[in-house]
């Protein structure tokens, strides 16, 4: 028994909590007259990353870069075209639906829009209790109610509000309901897909602090998807930067922030509006030309080359990964 526990402990130290290996997601874009797809949306291409336990991995990128797709693949909302997902060493992608079910309990999701992600005809308490009901986590009605009250208090809501409907709550409170709902099954891993983007500035800070408190209290692991670099910088330990379905840079947050390597990362950070006069002065503005190309038939080679100020002939070939420093990798020909 002791030996087994020892083994497991060692195993957890050696393996990352969650690993994604070459995840690829292609959606059919156009079909011929017979319903056979002829072109594909490359939503995610060979995306590999690891999430360390109890930490936050930030995913940044512009709309359409595949960051939400990645989150949804991890939670089995999309079935990846190819690639593997490992959860504490177990390959999730090979499991049958039945075998996969227990993992649904351990991995949860907080959506972006707290207005459309709550059923308007359910009471807050029942929304939160959905996970409890689905996995039969409460043996009696009293236990269920107690658990709901506990979750509501934990997320900064008043238990008396359990009988209210979603429209009676403000945006920030609704997002708290979403978080309480996600916590109902006692998950270890939560995907926050733009969890604060739809909220007002003063409410954003409240929700971010709540997420951090909960992370400490329950040792949660987050995949934090956002387009707001300041928030990602504040909350994340590690970061991946995505462009058009591919990861272009990854590493620990501070290293990537201090020493941005990929031209896209540089542009993305410099496009974030500066705030104080000191920040404004320090900033090197870099304005990109053009728009993000269509993910249907993305450019060959480096996908960023059409907008990159440093693009040259060699960028027509697929760039490889390069180590900028320890724990900081970039995918760009400039580092060949």
């Amino acid at each position: 028994m002791m030996q087994a526990m020892q083994n497991e402990k060692e195993f957890k130290q050696n393996h990352y909590f969650l690993e994604a290996e070459e995840l690829t997601m292609h959606f059919p874009a156009k079909s011929d007259g017979l319903g056979r797809p002829v072109s594909w949306i490359h939503a995610a291409d060979a995306v590999s990353f690891r999430v360390p336990k109890g930490k936050t991995l930030g995913v940044v990128g512009e709309s359409g870069c595949g960051k939400s797709t990645v989150g949804k693949m991890l939670l089995n909302i999309y079935r990846p075209t190819s690639g593997k997902i490992y959860y504490e060493g177990t390959e999730l992608t090979g499991l049958s639906a039945k075998e996969r079910r227990p993992y649904a309990k351990r991995m949860q999701l907080v959506w972006q829009d707290p207005y459309s992600s709550l059923d308007p005809r359910l009471r807050a308490g029942d929304i939160i209790a959905e996970g409890i009901d689905n996995f039969h986590l409460a043996s009696s009605a009293a236990q269920r109610r107690e658990r709901v009250e506990q979750l509501m208090t934990m997320c900064g809501l008043f238990p008396e509000q359990a009988a209210n409907y979603p429209h009676q709550f403000s945006g920030g409170q609704r997002q708290r309901i979403c978080i309480a709902r996600a916590l109902a099954t006692d998950p270890e891993f939560i995907v926050c897909d733009e969890a604060v983007s739809a909220l007002d500035v003063s409410i954003q800070a409240q929700i971010i602090n709540l997420l951090k408190d909960l992370q400490e209290e329950l040792s949660l692991t987050y995949l934090f998807i956002s387009h707001d670099l300041n928030i990602v910088h504040f909350i994340s330990d590690e970061i991946i930067v995505m462009y058009l379905g591919q990861i272009v840079e990854r590493g620990t947050m501070e290293k990537v922030y201090q020493n941005r390597a990929h031209p896209y990362t540089k542009a993305l950070f410099s496009a974030t509006p500066a705030f104080t006069p000191a920040e404004k002065q320090r900033k090197n503005r870099m304005i990109l030309e053009g728009d993000v190309p269509s993910p249907v038939d993305p450019p060959q080679g480096c996908r960023f080359r059409g907008r990159c100020p440093y693009a040259s002939k060699r960028c027509e070939e697929e760039p490889g990964w390069h180590e900028v420093e320890s724990d900081h990798f970039v995918r760009c020909h400039l580092f060949d």
Binding site: V201, H227, I235, A271, A274, F275, T276
Partner: protein, 332 residues
């Protein structure tokens, strides 16, 4: 220095919405500000603070049957827009004062080409303008917002363009009549950051070229700090602080402004948790008496629940409406 004559002066504007026989919601209360020629005024606030309603009132674009203006004057170059006959006002709308809206998707008619919609703007204001002349002016306007191949764009429909392109077209459309004042209501909120940077850059350039004054509404403090010369902070239908942009961000005096600035995670911030404003933004129905911020404010006392504070002058060009502005710590 010679005192500049303001282009637009809003004096003591209040806007109420009639909901049913009994309820009257006070969306905007006693708001005054001015815009100088060629200047960018930023209006910042959270949802429901009355920033959009204020700007819609300038052109009287609020739903007519429901809106009541109990007090206020809006002087545009000395003419009172508030009491102007509708015909005269529509000659100013889109001609001398133009507007750019938030959603570039819904602001355009999907059934007409970009060219038709742009030329309509010109030909409504000058019925005798020839089609060929309008066409030429539109081509120039599109080229000015740096969209390649304007001829093709004129023939295309809005849905064929990306969000950034569409917002540029909106700007081109608003600028084609060479207005003196451009009102932008959250023009970049729906755009990605790299596209937002492009559009902001473009707006700054156009402003410098044409000398247009801009009223820029947003909830994003970062955007305002890059765009505006002067900033108004609004909360609960009131203006709570107004100052030049750098002054406001380095020496905020109103507790709400301080809270807003602190809640944004700045790259230099070292703490483990963000400082935050407790509670949530009140809706128009349950707006507290006195200072609307009093129920979330850590410095609030009895007086704050009774009367709205008068504007005090904290330094030159910096006004603040708070009973306790002298005692609150500077810099938050």
């Amino acid at each position: 220095m010679e005192q500049q004559k303001p282009l637009l002066e809003v004096i003591d504007l209040s806007v109420d919405f009639r909901m049913d026989r009994r309820t009257l919601l006070h969306a905007v209360r006693h708001v005054s500000f001015h815009v100088n020629p060629g200047e960018t005024l930023g209006i910042v606030g959270e949802s429901g603070c009355g920033k959009s309603v204020t700007c819609m009132s300038i052109l009287k674009l609020n739903p007519e049957r429901r809106t009541v203006y109990p007090t206020g004057q809006i002087l545009f170059e000395g003419r009172d827009l508030m009491r102007m006959p509708p015909k005269q006002l529509s000659a100013i709308r889109g001609n001398e004062i133009s507007m750019v809206f938030q959603e570039p998707m819904t602001a355009m008619n999907p059934l007409f080409t970009i060219g038709d919609q742009m030329m309509e703007v010109l030909r409504i204001h000058d019925h005798r303008m020839e089609r060929s002349k309008a066409y030429k002016m539109c081509l120039e306007a599109i080229a000015r917002v740096k969209i390649p191949n304007p001829e093709r764009i004129m023939k295309s429909y809005p849905f064929t363009l990306s969000g950034g392109m569409r917002q540029r077209i909106m700007i081109a459309m608003a600028m084609v009549t060479k207005p003196k004042l451009l009102i932008c209501d959250e023009p970049t909120t729906a755009l990605d950051v790299t596209i937002q940077a492009q559009v902001l850059d473009l707006m700054n350039e156009l402003k410098q070229e044409a000398g247009t004054a801009i009223i820029f509404i947003t909830h994003d403090l970062g955007v305002i700090s890059e765009m505006a010369d002067r900033v108004l902070i609004m909360y609960g239908g009131r203006v709570c602080e107004a100052a030049a942009v750098d002054e406001l961000f380095t020496h905020p005096r109103h507790p709400y402004t301080m809270g807003l600035i602190d809640s944004r995670p700045s790259p230099d911030y070292q703490g483990d948790r963000l400082r935050m404003i407790p509670g949530s933004v009140p809706t128009l129905k349950d707006m507290p008496e006195g200072c609307p911020f009093n129920n979330r404010c850590q410095y609030a006392t009895g007086a704050c629940g009774e009367t709205f504070p008068d504007f005090a002058c904290a330094s030159e060009g910096h006004t603040v409406a708070c009973h306790h502005w002298k005692t609150t710590p500077e810099n938050g």
